[in-house]
């Protein structure tokens, strides 16, 4: 009897989880469907879109012909990888110091770092815009990489701090007693043990930088514009561009979706690392 109830519960839970998963995935599924429809078909009633219209790859060809996808793609890759790597260079020593050599105010410093994420970005848009104008960084990959690194730095430090805290300090102490320098201690002892955490930090920050749309739209024009600007160029309140917008969106999110798909185990493992004690 108990077994029957348990199976029913399992089925119910699976059904609920499946439904919720489908609902969450539905917008992306709809983007995929619309991207293969003509503009006229894309605005028809949902059932007509599904069953009474043909399929076409014309939108992808038009989008590529009108906008240089590969230039935007390479800008996205440079900005997201660059900002994540730059962030790691600063965050690993910072997280190491706070995890293994905590001071009286370490917790306060961590909270202060997190508090910078609570400020709406638009609040500092004009000052940063003026700094970028005066330093010639407007519409440059370097400028955008630095800004995205700064925005994601608190998250990188927090994540690494959490992972580092799980590693017993005694192991590092032993390495030190064996004569390891600080550089060797971090590179050959700490880094291999924290690899799942570092990997998930890298993955999450690449995703965050890839999808960042406020700064990438506001600080770029023609040269450094990444895929977020590529999508924005197909949004329009006048005229019909739903299908092309869907095609542009799919082209923009496809690389990160594929990367997320292949690294999901790593990502979940890293994100849940140390969650259950």
């Amino acid at each position: 009897m108990a077994r029957a109830v348990s199976t029913r519960t399992k089925v119910l839970n699976t059904a609920i989880a499946g439904t919720l998963g489908f609902l969450m995935f539905f917008p992306i599924l709809w983007i995929i469907i619309l991207s293969f429809k003509t503009e006229e078909d894309a605005i028809r009633a949902p059932l007509e879109v599904l069953f009474q219209s043909g399929w076409t790859i014309e939108n992808f060809l038009t989008v590529q012909a009108r906008s240089d996808y590969f230039k935007h793609f390479s800008n996205s890759v440079i900005i997201s990888l660059g900002s994540t790597l730059l962030g790691l260079i600063i965050a690993i020593p910072a997280a190491w110091a706070m995890a293994f050599v905590p001071a009286k105010r370490t917790k306060d410093v961590l909270m202060w770092m997190l508090s910078t994420k609570m400020m709406p970005p638009v609040g500092v848009l004009v000052p940063i815009y003026l700094i970028f104008r005066d330093t010639g960084l407007l519409d440059s990959l370097i400028g955008l990489t630095v800004v995205l690194m700064l925005i994601n730095l608190p998250i990188i430090i927090w994540m690494l701090y959490t992972y580092f805290r799980e590693i017993p300090g005694e192991i590092l102490e032993a390495a030190r007693m064996d004569g390891a320098t600080l550089k060797k201690e971090i590179l050959y002892v700490l880094a291999p043990m924290a690899l799942p955490g570092i990997a998930s930090t890298i993955l999450l920050n690449i995703i965050l930088a890839w999808n960042e749309a406020f700064w990438t739209l506001n600080l770029t024009a023609a040269n450094a514009a990444p895929l977020t600007a590529f999508i924005a160029s197909y949004s329009s309140p006048e005229g019909l561009f739903f299908a092309k917008l869907s095609a542009a969106s799919l082209m923009a999110i496809a690389p990160i979706l594929i990367m997320g798909w292949f690294s999901q185990k790593q990502l979940v493992r890293g994100l849940t690392f140390g969650a259950v004690k």
């Binding site: 006229e40 815009y129 024009a221 949004s235 309140p237 005229g239 019909l240």
Partner: protein
Amino acid sequence: MKMKNFLLTAGTMAMMVGAGFASAEEITVATVNNNDMIVMQELAPKWEEATGNKINWVVLEENVLRQRTTQDISTNGGSFDIMFIGAYETPIWGKNGWLAPLDDFANDANYDLEDIFPLVRSSLSADNHLYAVPLYSETSFTYYRTDLFEKAGVAKPTSQITYDEFRDIVAKVHDPENGIYGTCQRGKAGWGENMAFVGTLANAFGARWFDEQWQPQLNSPEWNAAITYYVDLMTKYGPPGATANGHNENRALFKDGKCATWIDATSAANDVKNPANSKVADITDFFQAPKQATDKGTGWFWSWALAIPASSQKQDVAKDFLKWATSKEYFQMVGETKGWVAVPSGTRASIHEDPRLLEAAPFAATIKDAIFSVDPSNPTRDPVPYTGVQFVAIPEFQGIGNFVGQQVAAALAGDVTVEEALAASQDFATREMTKAGYIK
């Protein structure tokens, strides 16, 4: 002597090559994603080939573009050499000294500035200086379905009808059981969305945004009558979920045969009358937007134009492109390569008189007449201190217009009463105008 000649020739060649490189400039154009600009992007390589210059296009959604260009031009950022802006921003930015004057276009006989309709030129000028040149201009008129009117026994109005008469017609053609709604009007909140239509409706009912002392008038009986009419009309005869419908959604609904009437931009006519895009191309006709207490300001006026920010370092090249992109030859090139029905309307007299346009788009004459009937300098029944039909040409209007648009949308959704929506709008407008120093 030979050596001297050699050096002279080499020097001249080096100067020529240098000059060649110097003249090849790259300019950045910020623009929206609409059909007319897509055509321009497709034809621009001809200008690039002829001049050796290159254009970098930055295409953004209209609201993003507005925010992005405002931010750049107000901080003297210099990210763009040409901006695609409207009749609202041009005079304000021109007065601020943010745009390069284009007065010297008048000296170019080939460009023929006088050929551009005076109304359009004046709407893109401030303090007698021209600050932008138009790609297309529009007013609003009523799209209607000839087959549904015929079925309901309604004749096409031959003169301007009142909104009361319009409602009677809408009631007759309303047939929701067959998926046809009596009227589709903008409901999506925003000064450029629902307030474009609501602004002209309010004008028709005798309302005004401000009195001569800049005191907001949003709690006046005229505004109340206009919004009450709007909510009543849309609730009884509009499509469900109308607060989500802006220009685009209504255009799609109309083209799909779901609306019997639609009061909106003349610039959509080409698309609606194109059988390749529209199910109702052959059964759509137009008449003037209705009046009520007055016939002033009942059709809006808008112009999309190209301007050069004062911060641009390449103003000469930018001017050269502007002349090319708004010349008679450009419009003719669009007609010859993309079809005359695709030619942007409402800017040049010579293009509107071209027999090829009149043959391909017979409604072009109706559009011209409608545009000529608008007077942005005298938009309301009672005197006002501002210009602009569906907007008020002051910087504060964007914020006020958006807020009132949200209140009107809330009233349409039934979340608040018309009185509550207008009271909140009046408070907001009074606060903003006091803060900006218009009201002491």
